[in-house]
Symmetry: C2
Subunit: 312 residues, 2 copies
């Protein structure tokens, strides 16, 4: 197992110079909300500045079914699966992410005495970026263009508002949607939004919690966990969004692809460590910081070149 | 028509000493969201500090029906109608108030370039108070106690967090639920929460916007608008929550009763003016500040005693 990162050891009172810890909790139902909230509370109480970002896809699908507007998924030209977001879907998305789940996380933390403040990326334009009103998709071999879609990509994070809250002693709990440059609500990917937040805030570490122990070389065999990938900073600059992380992208299934993309974006954004870890266990964040899960680490040597090594 | 209140004239840049304007927009579907958002944006851009509080009862009822958990209303011992809030109802309430409607208001303002930030009373415990886990109700002549209820009353407002946002140049958009002293989400009344916010922030004025021109002496005859009630500060201190405002309480129907209670609480909290005004018209807030609606005004004379006068 990799060694704990020194910056991740709990410190005393939160210090201005230290970047916060950014945690992204997925929206899968196998995650242990109680364990995550308790662990976040423990870290916060030990003096860490923490930002929690959460998902909610699984519950959104359920509520959309209940409301008679079942989810539709499309495959983008570049091969990623995403939700088709018409206006009604965006509203259901907001109900579940910003209403039900964001307030559930805030309540879980408030019950533990933590001054959590829940915000969407629309609030204060925390997550801001271009709206893709035309979505280019593929259906089999055919390429199509969908209109009336409300999705976007985070290009800018309102760090001023986040710092205002962090300096005020609050724990921000963030969720999609984001805001277009025109102030419209747009569905943005939570994993990549968390990466943008981590990069913009100069976070010490970004931890992705999901319903798996980390990245599996041989999915779904949990014994095939890839425990560490070392990558040089200059391997992160290729034209592909996941440059330098090919061994992980090759192994990633479904939603894990977005976390690998997010990891690459966070490392490009200046982080030196991203962990893909298990959100189903006790003390999941501290376990990740102590070495569990898949650690993606920027090699400190400036002379290292050559391919990234994946170790098992 | 009463004269405009000097403190309500738009000023230059927001000044630290001046209390903000607090606006409560009801949840009725007859309200003109576009007109309210444009007016709020205009006031904000003219230099006013503004806090917007919104409701959402009508939409919550619809969504609760769609989700197969229709609303139940109960009559409290003191004769007010309130929503029965079991845990499932609380979740639907959060979906609609914090998700769908809060983000709709924030988006409406963001599209007009206003740095709106949407928060519930649970976030940072903005609205904090006792949870009434036993709800004493009456059904006809019988008195019953309901358990597993998630309602409460706002006793404390986190002004520190609101000032942080106001001083940072943001426009807070607030909504129930609130937080119990244990950090549990509790359904609190939005009209009374707005009054608590206005009192705690030393607001210049509180404006209630609803689907009526103000308080009607002879409901539903809109020509019977009560345009002004003057009340002395020492008439506001009786044992009844609405002390001093009996002429209004006598005329109020249904939800208007809560606004009269809120008005009394805001005046007790130190405000000198509360306006019950029409949310269905163009420039609804400025019309209210310029004299439209029902103005409840604390008489400046310290020697005045005797009954409040209602003028038509």
């Amino acid at each position: 197992m990799p060694e704990p990162h020194p910056a991740d050891a709990p410190t005393g009172p939160r210090q201005a110079g230290e970047g916060p810890l950014v945690i992204k909790a997925g929206g899968g139902k196998s995650l242990d909300l109680d364990a995550i909230a308790s662990d976040v509370a423990e870290l916060f109480n030990s003096g860490r500045a923490v930002v929690l970002v959460h998902g909610g896809a699984e519950t959104t699908n359920e509520v959309a079914e209940q409301l008679g507007h079942p989810p539709q998924f499309v495959t983008s030209e570049s091969g990623y699966s995403s939700r088709r977001t018409d206006r009604r879907t965006l509203e259901i998305f907001e109900m579940v992410y910003c209403g039900l789940l964001n307030k559930r996380w805030v309540e879980q933390l408030q019950r533990r005495g933590i001054p959590a403040v829940g915000l969407s990326g629309l609030d204060g334009r925390l997550f801001e970026g271009r709206r893709k009103d035309k979505l280019r998709i593929r259906v089999g071999a055919r390429r199509l263009v969908l209109r009336d879609d409300w999705t976007g990509t985070v290009e800018r994070v309102n760090t001023e508002l986040l710092r205002l809250l962090l300096d005020g002693g609050y724990l921000p709990v963030l969720t999609p949607p984001g805001s277009s440059f025109n102030g419209e609500a747009v569905n943005v990917d939570g994993d990549r939004a968390a990466a943008a937040v981590a990069g913009a805030l100069g976070a010490s570490t970004l931890v992705y919690l999901s319903g798996a122990p980390g990245l599996l070389a041989d999915f779904p065999d949990e014994a095939s966990l890839i425990s560490r990938l070392d990558v040089a900073r200059d391997e992160l600059t290729g034209p592909e969004a996941h440059a330098g992380l090919e061994p992980l992208m090759a192994a990633a299934q479904d939603r894990m692809k977005k976390k690998v993309l997010g990891a690459a974006e966070a490392l490009r954004g200046g982080l030196s460590r991203v962990v893909l870890a298990d959100g189903r266990i006790e003390r999941p964040v501290r376990a990740a910081l102590e070495g569990a899960g898949t650690h993606v680490v920027v090699r400190s040597s400036v002379t290292s070149h050559g391919a990234a090594e994946a170790t098992r």
